[in-house]
Symmetry: C2
DNA sequence: CGCAAATGTAGTCGATGACAACAATGATGT
DNA sequence: ACATCATTGTTGTCATCGACTACATTTGCG
């Protein structure tokens, strides 16, 4: 039986992966650096070599969350070829899917940014830019007419995030969920294609 | 100099008030039962008589938050006499005001409900019912035509909460905020008064 | 080969939440 | 009045945690 080598080799990644698991299953509050260390089979101080403190771990987790969210949104948007409205719908569903699968993570992602001004190149912005691109595309195709893309995208993003929050809060039954999302989207579309 | 009496007399309320202050200024994570006890001038175990554990304190705080949010929304909705759209606008502004003044609390409020199915009579629902009433009123006045009030109210609520989340996350500059909210509202209105 | 940086370990400190046993106070019924 | 009992507060303790320091092992580079 091979004793574990002195150097783990991939500790940072393993810590992040296990942390993501814990957050998904038991929430961010249940996350303990020492417990992560035990799970990974290293000493209690080892995580410190990779994360200056607990918050740094949470921030890194939030960052990977935004990356993944951006990827999933983009995949949904680009994996649907049937025109603007269908793409928008698919993207919204992807967002809601993420939000239901990883409610605690999503909450952390937003919490991690409180009190920090947004940098135009971070993962959060790249996730948002999927919306932006979508909006621009809709405007070119004529499905959308009103407003600067920045603002319209923000409103769209907010709508999705708001629905996600209400789901997390248990204020929306998961039954009629797709229908609700579809309704919100088409309402947004109707409101955005009339002339101002 | 009067020694503090053995019984504080109003510990629960004082703990909640001080906790609200701490959450507002330094976030929910910075809240410690022992620190609260010190602030109130009682022993470290005294809070336990009023809150079974830390989470119970947070839950109570969230509850009072929903009560206050409901009150403020209702005051805004009812304190504006100039017709449906203005009322809607005022309510939205009240929501955003709450969200900017008490970002961490609002986040807590939603987090506290995760994994619990909504009860139709709790404070969260009463806050939401302000929206509901507003929607019904709008439909009677003819300003809104589409959809069951429940669903439309949910979408409206989600839109506000979403904008609030983006503000907390620093993704929305506070400059053009009122304008953005107004835009979101009128977009929602346009989308909801066209025929389905 | 040797040295420095990276990575992991052991030990410690102060703070915390939870709990138990005990004390003071106040309310209630007679 | 007063005995009794629930309420509310106190002291003491424990396990856990995050943060920090000093030290050990490994890896990689010159």
């Amino acid at each position: 039986m091979p004793d574990r080598p002195y150097h783990h080799g991939n500790l940072r990644q393993e810590l992040l992966a296990e942390a993501a698991r814990t957050v998904r299953e038991r929430g961010a509050g249940a996350l303990s650096l020492r417990q992560l260390a035990r799970d990974a089979g290293v000493s209690h101080a080892a995580p410190r070599r990779h994360f200056a403190d607990r918050q740094a771990l949470l921030d890194a987790l939030a960052e990977t969350g935004f990356v993944r969210l951006g990827d999933e949104l983009r995949a949904a948007a680009e994996g649907t070829a049937d025109g603007f409205e269908a793409r928008l719908q698919a993207t919204a569903e992807a967002y809601i899917h993420f939000a239901t699968e990883d409610a605690a993570l999503l909450e952390m992602m937003f919490a991690s940014k409180r009190g920090v001004e947004a940098e135009p190149n971070d993962a959060a912005y790249r996730a948002f830019s999927v919306m932006l691109d979508l909006i621009r595309q809709g405007q070119e195709s004529g499905a959308l007419r009103i407003g600067e893309p920045e603002r319209v995208g923000l409103i769209l993003f907010a709508t999705m995030q708001g629905i996600a929050a209400l789901i997390s809060a248990g204020m929306i039954e998961t039954d009629g969920l797709d229908e609700l999302v579809g309704d919100a989207i088409s309402r947004f579309l109707r409101g955005s294609r009339a002339t101002a």
